[in-house]
Amino acid sequence: MAKAYGRIQGNAQVQNLWLQSSSYTGIFATTTAPLDCPVEGCVYGTALNYQGELAKLGPKLHEKPYLAPPKAPILYIKPKNTLIAHETPIPFPEDSNYLEVGAALGIVFKEQVTNVSPSEAWEKILGFTIVNDLCVPHDNIHRPAVKYNARDGYCPIGPWIVDRDDAPNPDSVAIRVYVNDELQQTSNTKQLVRNVRQLISDVSTFLSFNPGDVLLVGTPENRPLIQHGDTVSIEIEGIGMLTNTTAVSKEGVQ
């Protein structure tokens, strides 16, 4: 059994959960109570942290508007209005036929993190979770994309946080995205530009994390697209599966 943390609906406290796995169902919690979003801190996304994403931009990294490849980690914020739980409907936009799925491993912190070395970074981690970093497709990442990636419900997280010591090596986990049960994307965190410890260390030189904050390690290239009515599941090896279905925006969440 693996130790995990989650929030049962109607209960504000994060509590201990126990996970089991079977070849039929994958990983499941020993409680059957519906789970709320396990995260309440600030959620930071990381752009261009997969080698394939940089490769896809190729020579464009040296052209306008970018002019040079990124030096420091490129971050963005998924604000509180974006956070929803496993199995909560995703509000579908009225101004786009598609949403892009960003399949991300989320690092959850248990202590304040300031200016840590890569080896110190490990001690600050509570555990790992699954994040669906959604956005409306947009052309480039020159300007902050708040209008495209910070809409209500655009950051499903969960179902739980697997304790660091019971999670697989986060620098070598397979991530699979299914749309309506069909496999649409496979990736592996082996392809990260900065691995988990290095990313935390580099960010913590200018931005401190608080307990409960989350850092997404990045999203792989060729993001799957989903349409109205689709069900999207992100499976991370050893962590679990996060599933949400798109709904019309009027039925969306607060």
Partner: protein
Amino acid sequence: MKRARIVVDGAIHEAVEYGEQLQLLNGRLVAKSDVQWLPPVVPGTVFALGLNYADHAKELSFQAPEEPLVFLKGPNTFVGHHGKTVRPDEAKHMHYECELAVIIGKQGKNIPRSEAFDYVAGYTIANDYAIRDYLENYYRPNLRVKSRDTCTPIGPYLVDASDIPDPMNLTLKTTVNGTVTQTGTTEDMVFSVPVLIEYLSSFMTLNKNDIILTGTPEGLAKVYEGDQVITEIEGLGQLHNTIISDRLER
């Protein structure tokens, strides 16, 4: 009413300005010099505007944008009145930005500009420091420039919206070590407060204690270790800040 969050004798209190003193909820009066100042509300989602004054956009050799240039700030970046902001010794281009900060008072979505002021709890002053050495052209202005620890002083007070009849006609002023370096008026905003509330709430829900930093006018100047920087807005008071070196942080 001018509302503050302060630390007195090791405890966090809400307080209101009472002449030269502050009054706690239990009625006790304390001297302003005897308290530590926190941001006037615990910040929710914090939006900031780039290039929202035409003169400032020109100063940076940009055209004013056709749509608001919005970015977000993390909770790590805020410090209160009389706080200290860390300047890396290696930086060559650090400057202040005096900004009107709008504090949202209640939840709203799809708010028309005609009703926008109903959603405003009040106003405060923010100093949206930027360290341009770290600018990169990805999600520019990137968080390494704009969401650094201690680099967004905010306060001293939440001044009730009812005490500020026209937020679109307030003078702004920055002084560094007593010398005036920046002046402007909120009249010159490209996108006004009601337009910004309408724009943001058109695609996301705004919540109580979300804050919008509305951009800065022309008049940038570099700041260095030891500088005393005062950002001031008519009717909202003065926000004091001191620049310190990152040598102390290592």
